[in-house]
């Protein structure tokens, strides 16, 4: 049997010892869209021991141009991304243990994996979840690799240790207006660029070559050919509640209320009912039947058509409203249907 990792072992910064460390590592990827999917492909092929994938979304046709793990059939079947990813990764490298978590990455979940993993790769599409990852990683003293892309632009920053600024120092206040996939689109080369930088950082960390990890934030645009590095040490805040002297890790505090969000890149709102209330697939089917609404049920979800909007109720009680961007509108429909 030929050695499938031969060329990685020949790469002198990894070598046989580095390869062994990759195979013993546990990596969590939060978000399995464009970045998460490219990162998962690279890391699984590289032979990472255990990969944990967390994502709340399922495959759609508009994902396929930039999300390398998924096929048209996955979109037709509306498979959860983490399930489709797990299947593909098994075909690619069956030695890798892949755990697929089909759920919203909330504070409790991210903390749980921060406690089990060597490093977290950011595959999310929003700042709120990154602040959760930031707090969980600082609390559990593991690094994470921020990556983001929009249009043809990529941004990557390794957050490792707490001597430099953390993600909350960078974003003490969430932006009111922000460029998103909805406003600016995104092309696959920007995705691959970002994920490649992120995975190289993962390799460096896991193989013990901390010195070569990026100290600066990398900002590049594959279309306009700009490439910049920015130091962030000067914005470390002594009173930062995540990495400062008194730490409260604000994003890890769970508040027991219904959570609603709207999604990057399309007219979709999400609602997670408050703790204590769990909607089941039976509830969904019941509501659809009682109101004479067309619906479809799979093992993963019930889909209900309602006045041009497509409502998806997942087995864990989470709801998506396709065709609705405004969370208030989604909330009002939620209460109208489910009381």
């Amino acid at each position: 049997m030929e050695d499938r990792y031969l060329q990685q072992k020949r790469f002198k910064m990894l070598g046989t010892e580095g390869q062994r460390k990759l195979q013993e590592a546990n990596v969590t990827i939060i978000g399995c869209g464009a970045l998460g999917s490219a990162a998962a492909d690279i890391l699984a092929r590289a032979g990472i021991g255990t990969i944990i994938l967390v994502d709340r979304d399922y495959v759609e046709f508009s994902n396929l141009h930039r999300q390398t793990l998924y096929t048209e059939q996955d979109a037709i079947d509306m498979i959860p991304k983490v399930e489709a990813a797990k299947r593909r990764l098994y075909q690619v490298n069956h030695h890798v243990a892949v755990e697929a978590i089909f759920d919203h990455a909330d504070a409790q979940m991210v903390e749980q994996f921060a406690g089990r993993s060597d490093i977290i790769v950011d595959g999310t599409d929003n700042f709120e979840t990154r602040l959760i990852i930031n707090d969980a990683c600082l609390k559990h003293q593991i690094p994470w690799i921020y990556g983001a892309c929009v249009g043809s632009t990529s941004v990557v920053k390794s957050f490792h240790g707490d001597s430099s600024a953390c993600f909350r120092c960078l974003l003490p206040v969430l932006p009111a207006m922000n460029e998103t996939c909805t406003t600016s689109g995104v092309i696959a080369p920007a995705v691959y660029m970002t994920a490649a930088y992120q995975c190289a950082e993962v390799f460096k960390y896991l193989s013990g070559d901390i010195d070569h990890m990026h100290k600066e934030l990398v900002w590049l645009d594959v279309w306009t050919n700009q490439h910049h590095k920015f130091g962030i040490e000067k914005i470390k805040r002594i009173n930062c509640p995540s990495c400062g002297e008194k730490r409260t890790y604000p994003s890890l505090k769970r508040i027991n209320q219904t959570k609603s969000t709207s999604f990057c890149g399309r007219s979709t709102a999400q609602i997670i009912p408050a703790t204590g209330r769990t909607l089941t697939l039976d509830d969904g089917e019941h509501v659809a039947n009682s109101q004479n609404l067309p619906f479809k049920r799979t093992p993963y979800f019930v889909q209900i058509d309602y006045k041009g909007c497509r409502l998806m109720l997942f087995a864990n009680g989470r709801l998506l409203f396709h065709g609705i961007q405004d969370v208030n509108e989604a909330n009002s429909l939620y209460h109208q249907l489910f009381g």
Partner: protein, 77 residues
């Protein structure tokens, strides 16, 4: 004189990639004030300020000859 560089949406708002303006001394906060007067809506956007390739706080001084970039944070993925 200082050199200003506008990234992403800031390039669209100011309709320029870069410019050089006269400057003797002052802080980042003062430059932001100038920017918002020159380009209405400037502070409605979110951005980081980098002076000579280092992200800085608003209290940072800017000296003649410095390069200052306005870089919006990126959230997509």
């Amino acid at each position: 004189m200082i050199h200003l560089y506008y990234f992403a949406q800031m390039k669209e708002l100011t309709k320029k990639k870069a410019e050089t303006i006269s400057w003797t001394a002052g802080t980042v906060a003062e430059l932001i004030k100038w920017a918002n007067e020159t380009y209405p809506g400037f502070t409605d956007f979110s951005w980081h300020v980098a002076v000579n390739e280092e992200y800085v706080l608003e209290t940072e001084p800017i000296y003649s000859g410095d390069s200052v970039a306005f870089i919006p944070p990126v959230s997509g993925g």
